[in-house]
Every structure is written in C-alpha cells, then in structure tokens.
C-alpha cells in the first residue's frame, strides 16, 4: 500500500496538469499584477520602473477616489440588500410556506441568478428607460398616477447608482436565499419542536434558536457578499457603462478603462491590486470579528 501511495510518477501525473494551469494562468499573473504596480508603460516594449509612483498617484487621482467611494457604496447597498432580503426569503421559504409549495417558490426565487449578467443588465436598462418610450418602471408610475416621479433613472447621477444596485440586488437575492435556506434545513427539527412545545411562539423560536445557530452561515454569506460586490462588473458595465459621468464607475470598471482604454498597464494593475487588498482586508475583518464575538 505504502509503495503505491508513494508512486512518484503517479503523483506527478495527478498534480502537474492542474498545478501548471493554475500556476501559469492564475497565480503567476497575480504576482505579475503586483509587480506591474511598480512600473509604467507597455510591458516588453518600454516598461519603466517608477517605484511607488503609482501608489502615490492613487491619493491624488480624483477619479480613483470617486470609484473607490462608488465601490464602497455598492458594497454597502447591494451587500446589505442581498443579506437581508436573502435571509428574509429563506425564512419565508422555510417557515412561511407549506412543504409542497417550497420547491416551486425556491425555483422562482433562484431564477434570476441563472440569467446571464449581460442579458439581465440589458433587461434592466429597458426597465429604467424613459425615451424613446417609457420602460416598465416609468409606465408603472404613470399607470398609478405618479407621473411626477417619472425620470431617466439611469441617466441622472442622483439615481443611477441606486438603479444599478437595485438591479444587482434583484439578480443576487436568490443566490443568498438558497444558501440561507440550506442552512435553515440543517437545523435539527427536534430543537424547534421542543421549544414550541414549551410554548415558544414561531418568532421566538426563530429569534432565540434559529438565529444563533445560523451564525456561521450568516458570516459565510457576508464574506461571499463582500467578495461578490467588490468583483461586480457586468451590471454597471452594460447598464450605465460607469456613467453618467463617473457616477457608477466602480473600481473594476475604472481598472478596465485605465488599462485597456488609456493603456496604462502599471496604474491599471495598481487599481486591480487595491481591489484584491480590499477583498482580503474586509473578509478578514469579518472573520476576526466573528471569532472575537464567539470567544466573548
């Protein structure tokens, strides 16, 4: 047995293809991205070492500051929306519906998640539209007599960000709902039954038994929400292309513009690395807070 499990040739055969693909096209490029942040120009042609200039530039670049703030807003609004609505939906699915309806309800809830981001974004562009014809939202407002509220939702800076966030929340709720729901299904039924036999109301059971037990799932969903909202690209790219002005330019869109429209590889990489850092910092803060509270 031991000899078979130490078979070096077999280990190489098993490990090499995957390891090569991962190292060459994920790990190595990521390291290169970090290295690029100290250079400016075009790689292989004229790529000059500039030290920390790219990082210094972050602090004076108004567009960067703006897209950083947009990303934070995105994180806050969509992240909170996903978690609260996803959790709420999961609770309704688990405790509000009869068992025979849950499968249908679950299918509906998850449906927007499987629609390609590009198609969903194009659909929401039509929903928010004002000219040449009213989109779904504006026609609805007109139909219920609120014509004063009709406006170009994605055409004005005041509402564009909210519009993109709502579309993004709509597309994502199902994903978090399904994860929360799976967590709820894992809670032992006899715990809930014992509590309700003792006279606890449904809400009390949820508050005092379900919520504490769901804590790990909740933390995991928060981490997922942070990672996903920092990575977001399709929705603002198609819906508003970062506009109007820079109102919906997230870090990912700004990075793309800097790197592939202005051809500043070094500075573009710096923006990308900031996104990476934000992901690492925020998720580790959440995990640390979780650990701290657990021990208290």
């Amino acid at each position: 047995m031991e000899k078979v499990l130490r078979n070096r040739k077999a280990i190489l055969v098993f490990i090499l293809p995957g390891l090569l693909a991962y190292t060459c096209f994920v790990f190595y490029p990521m390291c290169q991205s970090i290295l690029f942040t100290f250079f400016e120009g075009t790689p292989n042609v004229k790529f000059d070492f500039v030290g920390l200039d790219n990082y210094k530039r972050l602090f004076t670049d108004k567009s960067f500051r703006n897209s950083f703030l947009v990303t934070m807003q995105y994180l806050l609004v969509t992240g909170t929306g996903w978690i609260i609505l996803g959790y709420g939906t999961a609770l309704l699915l688990r405790y509000g519906l009869k068992a025979k309806h849950t499968n249908t309800a679950r299918t509906i809830v998850y449906l927007p998640v499987v629609i390609p981001g590009v198609a969903a974004a194009a659909l929401w562009a039509k929903i928010f539209e004002i000219s040449p014809q009213y989109g779904l939202l504006n026609s609805l407002l007109k139909a219920i007599g609120l014509e004063s509220l009709v406006r170009p939702w994605i055409g004005t800076s005041a509402t564009a960000m909210w519009a993109v966030c709502i579309a993004e929340i709509w597309k994502g709720i199902g994903y978090y709902a399904i994860i929360f729901y799976a967590g709820l299904m894992d809670i032992p039924k006899d715990l809930e039954e014992a509590a309700s036999i003792d006279g606890a109301s449904k809400w009390q059971v949820i508050r005092h038994i379900v919520f504490p037990l769901m804590r790990p799932v909740f933390i995991m969903c928060v981490v997922l929400a942070i990672m996903n909202s920092l990575r977001v690209y399709d929705m603002p790219r198609i819906l508003t292309n970062g506009g109007p002005g820079y109102a919906t330019t997230t870090l990912s869109i700004y990075m793309y513009k800097v790197a592939f429209k202005q051809w500043k590889y070094g500075y573009g990489s710096t923006v990308a690395v900031v996104t990476l850092l934000l992901t690492v910092v925020f998720t580790s803060i959440v995990k640390r807070m979780d650990r701290k509270e657990m021990t208290e």
């Binding site: 078979v4 190595y28 998850y110 499987v114 629609i115 198609a119 994860i179 990308a272």
Partner: protein, 279 residues
C-alpha cells in the same frame, strides 16, 4: 403537529409580502417575453404589457439569424463542457494526490491552489492578456478554456478533497491488495463513489463560467469563438431602434440556461448551496 386553517392577520401579511416578492422577482421576465413577441410599433403606444395583434415570432428569427445565436451557443457549449470535464478530471486527480498519497509538498501545493479562491479575475486580467497575446492564444478557444479551467480549479479541488475525506481508506487498500493499480483505483473506485458530489462541482463550474463576460470581452475580438453574452451586446448596437428584436435576443440568450435550470432546478439549488456551505 396539528393543522390550522385559520387566516390570522400575520399569515395574511406574510402572503402579501410573498406575493409582492414573487411578482418583483418574476415580473421583469414576463415583461421581457411579452415585449419580445410584440410588434415594435405596438410597444410605443400601449401601457405596461402589450397585447400583440399577431404574435411576432419573426423577432426571434431575426435574433436567431443576425445575433449569430447558433454560433455563439455552440461556442458557449463547447467551452463550458470542455471546462467542466477538465475541472472534474484535474480536481479528482489533485484531491487524491493531496489527501491520500504521501509526498512532502502535498500541503504546500494544496494551500497554494486553495488560495486561488480569494483571487478576483481583475487581478489577473492584464498579465493574462499579455501572456495570451505572446502565446498567440487571443481569439482562440484556448483564451477562454484555459482561464475558465484555471479559475475553477481552486473551488473544484476544495470541494472534491472535502468529499474524498469521507470515503473510507479501507476500500482502496483492499483494491490495492487485490492487485489494482493506482490509476485503476481512481478510475474504477474513487470516481464512481464521488459521483453525486462531482455533480456539485460540475454545476458550480458550469454556472460560474457560462455567464462569464469580463474575460471573454478582453481576450476575444473576432466572432469565431465569442460566447452567448456577446449576442446581447452586439445586438443593442445594431438594432438600437428595434426594441422588440432586442427583447427577443435577451430572451434567447437567457433561454438555454433557464431551460437547463428548470429541468435540473433541484440539483442546481442544492448543488450551489452545498458548494457554498463547504466553501
């Protein structure tokens, strides 16, 4: 537990919330399909939903033909099926080598690859573009297949190694004692035992990559290997004034995944939940 048939105020409120929620989730899609079957002029005159005089299937014909639908669908299917197969194969082999076999660097390799779950695509987009450009891989099938496989591996390895730990070692040991070689152990014993868990990995990989657009847009420029999301993007440009056709192309692009989802919804929702809980 006793069954109650009373409609308490709480229950009514809950049903209203549920109904509103269901409408919000589903109505945009109904609206989309409705408009995709209308005449372009009808849309400008009527209210929220259109009652088309004749159902305009020709919108779909236009979308189908001018949207390069078949070509892009073929590309999407080809890239994604190949990616799923390769991810499954590589993940099982690596998981076996890392969790079962004895070699010094197994922990290091595993840690290195699992770290990949944190790496966002943005952080590799630029260098990868340069690498593919240098290898003359841009605008080929490889420009999508390679990153789709490489980026799905960390999660694939994570999930499969988790599942593999639950398989008792004695089974393989018995097989080896009976003279079964290492490759046959994996192919004949491990693979079949992991079957249900591998469905999860396959679903996660497929869902993540099917809708991927950022890399596709960066690494591809000619239509030869473009994937489905491109039909929507190209169409909104060409048919800017013909709304009905734009709706048709959106519906058409979403259709394959929606159909697959409706057929496999139980597996997909469970697979995603399992993948996330383990991840």
């Amino acid at each position: 537990m006793e069954k109650k048939r009373h409609f308490t105020p709480g229950k009514i409120v809950m049903w209203i919330i549920l109904a509103v929620f269901a409408v919000i989730q589903i109505f945009p899609l109904i609206w989309l399909v409705n408009h995709s079957l209308a005449n372009n002029n009808e849309m400008f005159t009527s209210g929220i939903l259109v009652m088309p005089e004749t159902i305009r299937w020709d919108n779909y014909v236009t979308a189908f033909v001018d949207g390069h639908f078949l070509l892009y669908l073929r590309n999407s299917l080809l890239v994604n099926i190949l990616a799923v197969v390769l991810v499954l194969l590589f993940s099982v082999m690596m998981a076996f080598a890392c969790t079962r076999m004895h070699w010094k660097l197994s922990g290091v390799v595993m840690g290195l690859i699992l770290m990949g779950m944190m790496i966002p695509i943005h952080a590799t987009l630029l260098p990868n573009y340069i690498i593919y450009d240098k290898l003359r891989l841009t605008d080929t099938l490889w420009a999508l297949l390679i990153p789709y496989v490489a980026f799905s591996l960390p999660q694939g390895l994570f999930l499969t190694s988790g599942f593999m730990r639950s398989i008792p070692k004695e089974i393989e040991e018995a097989a080896v004692i009976d003279g079964c070689g290492i490759y046959r152990v994996i192919g004949v014993i491990i693979f079949p035992m992991l079957k249900t868990s591998l469905v999860t990995v396959a679903i996660m990989t497929f869902l993540n990559n099917w809708n991927e657009f950022m890399m596709a847009m960066t690494y591809l420029s000619s239509p030869t290997w473009k994937t489905l999301p491109f039909s929507v993007l190209e169409f909104t440009g060409i048919y800017a004034s013909n709304y009905a056709v734009q709706f048709a192309v959106m519906a058409l692009t979403a259709a394959p995944m929606v159909i697959v989802y409706l057929c496999l919804s139980k597996y997909i929702t469970e697979g995603v939940a399992m993948g996330a809980v383990k991840g």
